[in-house]
Symmetry: C2
Subunit: 406 residues, 2 copies
């Protein structure tokens, strides 16, 4: 007997037939003799509709009332799924955040879970009752409903799994697992059986939108084994787990890409102490996040070129801020470029193996792809290249690291 | 300064623009210096959609889960109305049943309110904050959300007004008050300024579907002054109040009709003790409610004719039950008739004035309308006539009792 938390997203519970399908998946798990808690999102489209209502009434609105409104989507799903389970002979009851309770901080609209009292749930699960839990919601210190921010149901599921020391947290979604890269671009992409938390975190934040970043961080912190799998196909997915659990480690596990970045180059910035602070301070004040940064060596000892990337959505704002400060910063020219893509090679294996970055650079060079910016961390190497090379670069790197499916 | 509970139904909060309109109505009341609590229903159509989801999943479903699902409609509206109020500078916050709390019994789907702790609400209202309260819902002894049954938001409003000893409970709806009769049939129908609880109760249960019967009973019990008025027209409505508050009492206040009844006649039933019990017992067991009953005087001392009415929706079931018992009951023939209408003349004035019933009978006789069944209570006289005479009878009676508008 194992204790399993199952999580189903909005597409998986998109209509009554799909909710019945989810009930059957849950029944399978119960029939295997497992104790089961299920976390569900709102039916697809519902949350957007509710958010739209709030905006129609007032573009800027009280986050506490917003939470009251949007948390209803999950409340509908838990009731319906409990009914669907009972209908096929599975004992079940629904739980809202305040009923369990799932206590969060008071940051309405983007609350963080603080504690979950699972004692009542565990007692009932032990007696064979499935707990159907509303994702995305908690109760704040003021006794009002909070929501965790978009995609928060993944976090709810992992937090619940951590609190009840579940053997596994299965995240059912519309893809059947985590791939070595985007299969829509690279036909030879392979589904991974296992991946480490660290790698998943890099993949999640770099554009492989399978799991919400916060949920992976939480899984890593509490060592919750998370499986990503399809709610429509009956097959094992990808297990996100501790490095120790992966016997044969790949040098590189996956190749991610992000088209959400844009590049800004400041030509001939004064090369003196404090200039970086003078540039990035105002950007931070304007809520523009900066990712990769490259500063060339000064040729004349007086000025240098500075290149960095920001979110594509923040590009105009970033340019505006820096243009206003031009006199103060004393650069010659500002060159924005949104036709870029960030490509990242990820793998815990590179901690102990040299040559991973070199292979990336030489592979791209062979294809005539110019690297504009490079940044590295312990388990990843990222490069910025012209957007038009996205597909070519991904396919070449996928082959070069031996990731191609047979 | 007065303390007012305002209640808006589904049509009044049917979309975002209408919710903004409601906010303006509430602001007017606040601007008059009043303490205000607002009770709202779900946006029109929403509850039906949620009920339909439950039925799609399972025709017979757990009433506790049904309540979890359908109570979300009101939760959406309170959040949106609170936002709309804040947007026009009115302090407001939303309250769900469990937050106040509004404690009910555990009869999920048709719960009865037991207690409402209004202390926190009253404190905030005194400081100028409008309480926006979800109608139709409470919290049961098992700490789960309950609903009060269809139309329960009226009851929520009256119960809240009673608990906080409000000066008035204003029920905003899509009609502008209570009329002497149905204005769609009688063009000369007049809006009443005031009506007693007792009269309203007769009107409500007889087909003038303005207020839910339970809410009127509760208003009468707790002496809550209820005003029915339009959410779209800015004009006084009809005050439902104590008899003492009505200085000039009319002999007859209104004329109601109901097409929801059907007649059953049992020809030549044995005239012996216990026969009535033998007939109405099985009907009660089959959940068929019997309304009017007439038993003719026995001609031969051995058998008699018995006529009674049941809800039109129950007619087939009633006939089936009695047909199965034919041998036992020993009647000669069963004659069902669904082409009937019940017309009722209502007025507290008839307690002290004779001749009200007589005027009804003679007026109908003048028009050649045959009366099939008669029943009377302290403040009403009801007759059953052929359905085709509905309009004729209503207009004739409306004139005869001097109710026609000038």
């Amino acid at each position: 007997m194992a204790r399993i938390v199952m999580k189903f997203g909005g597409t998986s519970v998109g209509d009554c037939d799909r909710i019945k399908n989810v009930a059957r998946r849950v029944k399978d798990e119960v029939d295997r003799g497992n104790e089961v808690a299920v976390v569900v999102s709102a039916m697809s489209g519902v949350t957007n509709q509710l958010v739209d209502y709030c905006r129609q009434i007032a573009p800027l609105h009280d986050a506490r009332e917003y939470d009251t409104v949007v948390s209803t989507g999950e409340q509908v799903t838990i009731g319906l799924l409990a009914i669907a389970l009972q209908e096929i002979g599975v004992q079940a009851r629904s739980w809202m955040g305040w009923q369990i309770p799932i206590r969060s901080d008071g940051a309405h609209g983007k609350a963080r879970i603080e504690t979950i009292d699972t004692s009542e749930l565990e007692k009932r699960m032990a007696s064979g009752q499935v707990a159907v839990v509303a994702g995305f919601q908690g109760i704040g210190p003021d006794n009002r409903v909070t929501t965790l921010g978009r995609g928060g149901s993944d976090t709810s599921a992992v937090a619940l799994a951590a609190a009840m020391k579940a053997d596994r947290c299965d995240i059912y979604t519309d893809v059947d697992g985590v791939y070595t890269t985007d299969p829509r671009i690279v036909a030879k992409a392979r589904k991974l059986d296992k991946i480490t938390y660290e790698e998943m975190l890099e993949l999640a934040s770099l554009g492989a939108k399978v799991l919400q970043t916060r949920s992976v961080e939480m899984a890593m912190k509490h060592r919750v084994r998370v499986q990503v799998l399809s709610s429509f196909v009956d097959a094992p997915g990808t297990l996100v787990c501790d490095e120790d659990e992966i016997v044969e480690k790949e040098l590189v596990s996956g190749i991610a890409y992000s088209r959400d970045e844009a590049k800004i180059t400041l030509v001939r910035v004064a090369d003196r102490p404090g200039v970086a602070a003078a540039i990035f301070g105002p950007l931070a004040d304007a809520n523009v996040n900066v990712d990769m940064i490259v500063q060339n060596v000064s040729e004349d000892g007086k000025s240098t070129d500075l290149t960095f990337t920001v979110g594509k959505a923040d590009l105009d704002r970033g340019v505006k801020v820096l243009t206003e400060k031009k006199g103060e910063l004393g650069y010659e020219r500002l060159v924005p470029d949104s036709n870029v893509v960030k490509i990242s090679v990820i793998g815990v294996g590179m901690r102990s193996h040299a040559g991973v970055a070199q292979k990336m650079f030489s592979t791209l060079a062979e294809k005539g792809i110019n690297i504009q910016v490079i940044s590295t961390s312990e388990i990843k190497v990222s490069v910025l290249v012209a957007e038009e090379y996205t597909e070519l670069a991904l396919r070449a790197l996928h082959s070069a690291y031996g990731l191609d499916a047979q």
